[in-house]
Amino acid sequence: MRSFSKKFILLAVLFLLFFVINIAAGPGLGAANTAGAEIAGDIIFKIRLPRALTAVIAGGTFALCGAVFQSLFRNPIASPFTLGTAGGASFGVTVFISFFSISSFLGTFLTSFAAFLGALLSVTIVYFASSGKRSFNTNSMILTGVVINFFFSGLILLVQYLTDQTSVVRITRWTMGSIDLISLNALLFITAVFVSGSVLLYYFRNDLNLLSIGDEISVSRGVDINGTRKMLFIISSVMISSVVSVTGPIGFIGIIAPHIASSFFGRNYRRLLPASLLTGSIILLICDAISRTILYPVELPVGIITAIAGALFFSVVLTKQ
């Protein structure tokens, strides 16, 4: 047990380190020095800090929900993306963007709500498509997720085709996934959802352990499997939706972060949940710093970096197994 607390301290140190590096990375601070400390302060507190916090929250959310989905579906590649949850959320947001403005607090909230409806729709379809028969078939669930992803991608393209030019640009930019230009309102909103959602998920850690083993053992140990599954789906969907509505879909973290975390901390959700959260945050902090510096002065949407890095990482893991 003591070795785990040491690892947690190390993970927390890494987290802080990359948080600082993320804020320091990129253009602006050096140039601002000549213009005075005030501008540097503005850049740090009004642009870089909110952005780093967004990276922490988005990375943490995708990682946590990935870990939860892996228990619910008993499949190591279940994630908000493989199961179409993020696809559904994206569709909700796309529809919303093409019809409404999202700059106000109410706008942020409503976008998230639209994302939530889309996410819930896809989770419901996946759930019923694969749990209809006697047992919960995880393979058909993953396949349904793939189909749903295609379906929602099609619908998103359809909306893009029908809507006006400005919305098309906004939608395209948004579907690439990025964490720049977040309003303070939006940041407050996703922070509130993230903190309460994480606490709630941690509340279910014992259930998640048993559910990851099997239904029979869960019931015989006293887990209310149907109620618990529904609760976990709703909590994860709300968390994913709130983040996706702000950042767009940022793939792969939901699979990779829990995978890395479990290789150091084991599969026990008492440790896996906090470890995945921190790992997911660290990954997104790193990817964001890269996206800001790699093609300087051009800044890439971070979704591009996570998708490419994630796919590479994933194929390495697959070939090793």
Binding site: F204, I213, E216, G222, G266
Partner: protein, 252 residues
């Protein structure tokens, strides 16, 4: 301890259990025998709400299980079959059996730890407590299954083929283990098994199922070779074991 009345279970359109009624008294060892597909597992699973029933009633320790919350029921009765493969260590897995006693934001108590240690000691699993389930042999895994059932600290344990796939050594080791624990802790045991001679040797009564109906419930000393032959559709002969003077049955 267990009262089952007019139980009917339908799964996937099939009427699997038909009007089954039986009682199990406190501290009793009841064996469930019968051909494959007779409904032994289904009945055990219905007793702790893993499988729903369409009509009838089940009372466990005086409580109607259909109105009993999951955790409450799990502190009275537990079901144990082959453990599915997983990445947890033996100790972690056994600790999960303390679920009914854990509250959401509290951590593991000294009592939980003691129960887990004790269950591992009785089942001789302490020596590999930090190995992962996936790395164990079937015999070791089966002992872990028994250990985790014991750690749940229930008055009733339902075993679903605890010695299937085990060699004679582990078979008798685990069968003896279950019998001894049942005696020392005065636990009520229901054991679904294909091992007829274990059933004859250890249980107080034997309940035979066929096609979802009870064929007979008898004290184990009163079960005849004709009963068993009729049940399985293959001839059996009854003899006395010269060593422990218990009855054994041999398939012809």
């Amino acid at each position: 301890m267990i009262k089952v009345k007019d139980l009917n279970i339908r799964l996937g359109g099939l009427h699997i259990i038909r009007n089954v009624s039986f009682d199990v008294i406190k501290g009793e060892y009841l064996s469930l025998i019968g051909p494959n597909g007779a409904g032994k597992s289904t009945i055990l699973k219905s007793l702790c709400k893993i499988v729903p029933f369409i009509s009838g009633s089940v009372h466990v320790a005086g409580q109607d299980i259909s109105v009993c919350a999951g955790k409450q029921l799990a502190s009275k009765i537990t079901y144990t079959s082959q453990l599915p493969s997983n990445d947890f260590t033996v100790k972690e897995l056994i600790m999960f059996s303390r679920y009914p006693y854990l509250s959401a934001f509290s951590s593991i108590t000294e009592e939980d730890r003691l129960k887990v240690e004790e269950s591992m000691k009785i089942t001789f699993t302490s020596e590999f407590s930090s190995r992962k389930l996936n790395e164990l042999s079937s015999g070791e895994r089966q002992r872990v299954a028994v250990a985790s059932a014991l750690a749940q600290d229930t008055d009733i344990i339902l075993f679903d083929e605890p010695v299937t796939h085990l060699d004679p050594y582990y078979d008798s080791q685990i069968s003896e283990l279950i019998f001894n624990v049942k005696k020392t802790r005065n636990i009520t045991v229901v054991n679904a098994t294909h091992n007829l001679n274990n059933a004859l040797k250890y249980s107080d009564r034997i309940m035979a199922l066929k096609n979802g109906k009870i064929e007979f419930i008898k004290r184990s000393g009163e079960v005849s070779s004709e009963d068993v032959s009729g049940l399985y559709g293959v001839g059996f002969v009854s003899m006395e074991n010269p060593v422990d003077k218990k009855r054994v049955m041999i398939k012809l």
